[in-house]
Amino acid sequence: MNRPGVSGPGTTTLADDVGDLYQQVILEHGRNPRHAGRLTAFDASAKGDNPMCGDRVEVFVKYAADGTVARTGFEARGCAISIASADLMAEVVAGRAPADTRAMFETFRHMAQTGDCPDCDATMEKLRPLAGVHDYPSRVKCATLPWHALMAALDGKGSATSE
């Protein structure tokens, strides 16, 4: 991540300064999300909305026959963090039962707020790059917004906010 030409007059580069927050994986998922877009067929959807900053996301869920989450798609307008978070979320919840998904949200929220994830399994480790937001209270909401929307979709509610 330490690129030429990014360094300012100081001794550290911008990448050094924000590397904890903007890890390469976030920049990539933020730039080229794999799960962006409305699913052509879906069983549930919900909007999420952060009124303090104007971020919006809509999440679409397709269930498998056994009730697990088969696929998740999203449409978002927001920052790199919220888009990367939506995209990583779509990846980790695929194939999970709704109850599992809810538990994952709790684990993720704890990680986003504190930076710690004492019982992260291999799947949850994929979200570890987002743990850096804990240092930026108002950005925590960027990271959790898609999850709030997903929870609302699973609950059959139309919308959620992360204030």
């Binding site: 300064d17 924000v18 730039r31 303090m52 104007g54 927001g78 790199a80 950005r139």
Partner: protein
């Protein structure tokens, strides 16, 4: 501090020395505070006035016969004189203290709106209002049956005067409520013309001066306004204190907004009578310490002089626009002719929040989001912008730091 383009007679280094917070570092970098349009920093004079009040001369006002109360009342009421002079009010009784601009507008929406306006009459606002000058009129509409009209804004970020005139034409607009300076674009509205047209069509005019009064001398008589509001914390004063100016006869005619101590003539359970204006509108213990701080802020600004401030800020804004124009993918939003030191922009490939966080890491404080102007953002087809805003203490060097930091953001993201 070595300022490359000093305005004549304006010593920004000396001014900076008056603001203790500017010596702070943030994340190990010197603070470059470019968020004054959200709230300005406080000079030593304001801090000292508040401390001096609390340490030497404090008691509740208006109701005390003892020395501390008399002197505190004098100091509180002296702020009314200072504000009346600042705005060129006809009379000190035309100045009502509120918590902020938002409360001042709500007071008018409630007391003038519900108390004087009739259902079916309209309030006309513009597309570039702050939420504080939108939501109270919506609430009035929904509670009282008035209409809410919105005059369009052009692509350049200026009021569409044709649309404005058209919306006034049927004579049903009782009140125009419009900003004097946009907190998103920095645009000054042609407020004299706006007011003249409104009056020709039988409408009163409330001017939201929250941003303008920080940067330009305001003369409500010359403007011809009927209501003018501003907020202390943007004018280098404390939080918790704002101002409503209104023509005496309007205040006289309006019913009170809140009830309680200090706003009454006499109270019985059957019926109470109201105190004279402005006290009728100041229920309960006011923001005494904050009023005293506001007086110091006004004194500070007046001592520097609006002319010098305007010249300094115009030079800064020109410099900023020139520097930002050199950054690839950066687009400044709003291109009004008459503008002040507030610059909104977007950057290709980088969301405004990410810009703000990356600037923050470099010690540069800017705002990102909808700036409490969601309808305007929607009008422009934007979700959010980053916004740098300047104050009397902002330097050309800081703008250079902003530009250099934005280059690094661009390189980081693309």
């Amino acid at each position: 501090m070595n300022d490359a383009f000093p305005a004549v007679g304006f010593d920004v280094a000396r001014i900076r020395a008056d603001f203790p917070i500017l010596a702070q570092t943030v994340r190990g970098k010197p603070l470059v505070f470019l968020d004054s349009a959200a709230s300005a920093q406080k000079p030593r004079a304001v801090i000292d006035a508040m401390v001096n009040c609390m340490e030497t001369q404090y008691a509740n006002v208006h109701r005390g016969l003892h020395w501390m109360s008399e002197r505190t009342t004098d100091a509180y009421e002296a702020t009314r004189d200072a504000v009346a002079a600042l705005l060129h009010a006809n009379d000190r009784t035309e100045i009502v203290f509120t918590r902020n601009s938002t409360e001042a507008i709500n007071l008018v929406a409630h007391s003038y709106g519900r108390g004087i306006m009739k259902a079916g009459q309209a309030v006309l606002i513009s597309e570039m209002e702050h939420h504080a000058n939108i939501v109270p009129w919506q609430m009035l509409r929904d509670a009282h049956g008035t209409e809410l009209r919105v005059a369009a804004v052009t692509e350049s970020g200026e009021l569409d005067m044709e649309d404005y005139a058209a919306k006034l034409a049927d004579g049903r607009v009782a009140l125009v409520a419009i900003t004097h300076m946009s907190n998103v674009f920095g645009t000054y509205t042609p407020i004299e013309r706006i007011i003249r047209l409104a009056h020709e069509n039988g409408a009163k005019v409330l001017v939201d001066g929250s941003q303008a009064v920080v940067h330009r001398r305001v003369d409500v008589q010359a403007l011809g306004a009927d209501f003018y509001v501003f907020t202390g914390h943007k004018l280098y004063g404390p939080t918790g204190i704002g101002v409503l100016w209104a023509r005496h006869e309007l205040l006289e005619a309006m019913p009170p907004f809140m009830g309680g101590g200090d706003m009454i003539g006499s109270v019985s359970f059957e019926r109470s009578t109201w105190a004279h204006v402005p006290h009728k509108f100041e229920a309960g213990t006011p923001a005494i310490i904050e009023a005293i701080g506001l007086k110091a802020a006004i004194g500070y600004v007046e001592a520097i002089g609006y002319e010098a401030i305007a010249a300094h800020e115009a030079a800064l804004t020109d410099h900023a626009l020139a520097r930002l124009a050199t950054i690839e993918g950066l687009r400044v939003i709003g291109r009004a002719q008459d503008r002040g030191g507030v610059v909104s922009f977007t950057m290709q490939g980088a969301h405004a929040h990410d810009i703000a966080t990356l600037l923050d890491r470099q010690g540069v404080a800017v705002r990102a989001g909808h700036h409490c102007a969601e309808p305007l953002m929607r009008r422009l087809g934007l979700d959010s912008t980053a916004r740098a805003s300047f104050g009397i203490y902002t330097t050309h060097e800081e703008i250079d730091v902003l530009a250099a930091s934005l280059e690094r953001v661009r390189e980081f993201f693309v």
